[in-house]
């Protein structure tokens, strides 16, 4: 599968990102889609948590992802990072 610039844990806090790849097992990726995180979805990382966990903001909602799951989500910056 195409892998873009970085994974969620590699993303800086607060930057606007676009989801470009989800490398989870099919059933888990499907549930992620159902919950509103799909290819092309815009997100911001709002919080770094323990063990690589991340909190992301999508359309006003906050999603907590454990470190392993976050590392399987590829993103690209929407605006050029500083």
């Amino acid at each position: 599968m195409y892998r873009c610039c970085m994974t969620l844990p590699e993303s800086p806090l607060g930057a606007e990102l676009r989801v470009t790849g989800v490398r989870l097992p099919a059933a888990d990726a499907f549930r992620l889609n159902e919950m509103g995180i799909r290819l092309g979805t815009l997100a911001h990382v709002t919080q770094h948590a323990a063990f690589g966990g991340r909190v992301i903001a999508v359309a006003g909602s906050r999603y907590a992802l454990d470190g392993r799951t976050a590392a399987l989500i590829d993103v690209e910056p929407v605006t050029r990072l500083a």
């Binding site: 815009l42 709002t46 948590a49 966990g53 006003g60 454990d66 799951t69």
Partner: protein
């Protein structure tokens, strides 16, 4: 340390599960987790509700009666049966809880379509702060063809959430725009309001839709119809894509009609920095990689203290009232009617009243636990706790929230079992509920102190510490064994958790929730406790040797003692096959606090005021354990302590397991606990006696 018992002695869902009244309109509440569904249910039903398990599952369903006075002068009062279905993100179920929701919706769709006059309506609860996610589930429900009404919640949060697509939008305008896009009634509800909060409007809409169903615009029933079971991911994804497109279309229509170019678009970059909300700022502390875990542990410690030290004086007070003035009053009344000093007095005072007293002494600890959990849940912290503790519980396949009841179990198993309700999936609740009895509650500590002081006076502290370590190992080992056997379906799934915004808990809603849950405990678990206490009294009241009458018999001559003598040989391989130990373990089945008293009673010595100074009781214990173990009293004492740790904690915990999980898992667990405790005790003794 305070004791947890105070001071008192000793797969498809059928229609019946979702219908409380045969001819009433059936209403199903459907929505995602944390959308305010249960708060709405409580507001609609008040106290006219009860909880049951969905048939063949341990999934809890709240059912109730939604009663409205005449909505207009010409309307009669109306009653509807209403079911609060488990929160679900999708009708393509991934857990038994979600399956119950999917089955109920599909069953309603079938019965509404096939049987004239058996009307039913789904109230889809939409979170105004997360419309897109809520609309996806609504679309799936609409595909089933059920009559549908939308209840729009969280409008107050939507208005203040700075980065929500609906931020600052007038609730009336949002509801109107949604109704126009969906083609079905959309009602704003505020379940926490003291006023009507939209409830009458919701009732009108439900009745109107029941009489004249409408279809959601742009949603057609797929052919062949689905049944909520995931069979082919590719096919499901293809169908879901159609719904995702529909959701985007609805959101765009709503935004367009509200003339608010949303700040947060879903697929085109805004180019603006994130607006940090109040919750984001709080999370910088509570979810911080370094501070998050200490904060979580502090919260658990507070719960532990509340359910032990804080509850203990209240429990003691109730125990004193029941055993003192209340028991004296009942005895006096019986004297007035000539029934004093007989078996009737014994049954009523020493059986029934002791049972009722036991239930009453548990009320403070249960109320405190339910209130504390309600605060954690309503405030939004519980979801954060799941995130913070996720790593610790992952090896057992459990949600991070399971750590909370497991730690509370070291104070008292009963509120810990009640706390399993915070877990989102029924199988996880059951697995955690089966592990909790292995946590060494404070009541067991008195037994450890007595035996450790009597047999290992120079190393008592080390022995007690080893018992707690053994408890932790049993929880971990038990969890791993269960995951590889009866719970192979419970797997460590990726944690993808929606974090609700922080909000102030609502006291009235909280009080109602605590009252209903405590009431459920009293009515369902309380009965079992009272009956068990009466059975124990009966065993102790019936003479089998000597010249005694019923109700006036020394324990040594009672049926209770005879049963203990029958059990003793079974315990011989563990080194404590004597009548005293067997009787103490039987008493310990009722409550572990009374084990020390039972030993004192059976040896006919005074109960030590401090278990660490066993005195003559210690001498008696050393003598009888040495005799039954062939001179290996220390190994037998260790084996006895391990047995006390591993077998059923108390009858109240058993009754709570029955209330939460039903008879079958409870009886199975009881058998496994007894067999496991015996095996472990035999192992400890056989190894210990050879060292």
């Amino acid at each position: 340390m305070s004791s947890c018992h105070g001071s008192t002695p000793a797969p498809t869902l059928d229609r019946s599960a979702t219908a409380t009244m045969p001819d009433a309109l059936r209403v199903l509440l459907v929505g995602g987790p944390n959308v305010g569904k249960s708060t709405l249910f409580n507001a609609l039903t008040g106290a006219r509700q009860h909880t049951t398990n969905a048939p063949g599952t341990t999934v809890e369903l709240a059912t109730g009666t939604w009663r409205t006075a005449g909505l207009s002068e010409s309307d009669p009062a109306t009653e509807r049966s209403i079911v609060d279905l488990p929160g679900s993100y999708s009708l393509l179920a991934r857990s038994s809880d979600e399956q119950v929701t999917a089955d109920a919706v599909w069953e309603l769709a079938r019965s509404t379509g096939e049987v004239a006059g058996q009307a039913g309506v789904v109230v889809a609860v939409l979170d105004a702060t997360a419309l897109a996610r809520s609309l996806y589930l609504l679309a799936q429900v609409a595909q089933t063809g059920v009559p549908l009404v939308v209840a729009l919640t969280m409008l107050d949060l939507a208005a203040t959430a700075t980065d929500s697509p609906t931020a600052g939008v007038e609730p009336d305008a949002l509801a109107a725009a949604l109704a126009a896009s969906l083609g079905v009634p959309v009602v704003q509800v505020d379940s926490r309001s003291r006023a009507d909060g939209g409830m009458r409007g919701l009732a009108r809409a439900v009745d109107a839709v029941a009489a004249r169903p409408r279809q959601v615009i742009g949603i057609a029933t797929p052919e062949p119809p689905r049944n909520g079971v995931v069979t082919d991911i590719a096919q499901d994804l293809a169908q879901a894509e159609t719904l995702f497109a529909w959701v985007e279309q609805v959101v765009e229509q709503v935004n367009a009609s509200l003339a608010t170019a949303s700040d947060v678009e879903t697929h085109t970059g805004s180019g603006r920095p994130l607006r940090r909300t109040f919750s984001d700022r709080v999370d910088t502390v509570l979810l911080n990689p370094w501070a998050g875990i200490p904060v979580f542990l502090a919260v658990v410690w507070l719960l532990f203290e509340l359910t032990t030290k804080f509850a203990a004086p209240l429990q003691g007070l109730i125990g004193q009232l029941v055993n003192g003035p209340l028991a004296s009053g009942v005895t006096s009344l019986l004297g007035l009617v000539g029934l004093a000093d007989g078996w009737v007095q014994g049954l009523l005072v020493d059986g029934l009243l002791v049972g009722v007293g036991t239930v009453l002494t548990f009320l403070p600890v249960m109320a405190i636990m339910f209130a504390a959990l309600g605060v954690l849940e309503d405030s939004g912290y519980l979801a954060r706790a799941a995130f913070v503790a996720d790593r610790a519980m992952r090896s057992l396949g459990l949600d991070g929230r399971a750590l909370l009841p497991l730690i509370v179990g070291f104070g008292c198993n009963l509120p810990a079992l009640a706390a399993t309700r915070i877990l989102p999936q029924a199988r996880q609740r059951l697995l955690t509920g089966l592990l909790i009895p292995l946590t060494s509650c404070s009541a067991r500590l008195t037994v450890y102190v007595l035996l450790a002081s009597a047999f290992f006076p120079d190393h008592a502290g080390t022995v007690i510490f080893a018992m707690y370590l053994t408890s932790v190992l049993l929880v971990l080992g038990g969890g791993l064994v269960l995951r590889r056997t009866a719970f192979r379906d419970v797997r460590a799934e990726p944690l993808i958790l929606v974090l609700p915004p922080y909000q102030r808990p609502h006291l009235r809603t909280l009080a109602m929730s605590v009252r209903l849950r405590v009431g459920s405990f009293v009515m369902r678990a309380g009965k079992i406790i009272v009956v068990t206490m009466c059975v124990v009294w009966l065993l102790m009241a019936v003479p089998v040797t000597g010249q005694h009458t019923v109700g006036d018999v020394p324990v040594a001559d009672s049926l209770y003692s005879a049963v203990a003598s029958g059990i003793a040989p079974v315990l011989a391989p563990a080194g404590f096959g004597n009548d005293h130990a067997a009787a103490a373990l039987m008493t310990g089945f009722v409550a572990k606090e009374v084990v020390v008293g039972s030993f004192a009673q059976s040896y006919a010595v005074a109960k030590p005021s401090d278990a660490a100074r066993a005195g003559s009781l210690g001498e008696q214990l050393r003598a009888s354990f040495a005799q039954s173990s062939g001179g290996h009293g220390g190994a037998a004492a260790l084996a006895f302590m391990v047995f006390v740790l591993a077998y059923t904690p108390c009858v109240a915990a058993l009754a709570e397991q029955r209330r939460l999980f039903g008879w079958r898992p409870t009886v199975s667990a009881l058998g496994v606990q007894l067999a496991g405790a015996w095996l472990l005790a035999v192992l400890v003794f056989q190894v210990g006696s050879r060292i």
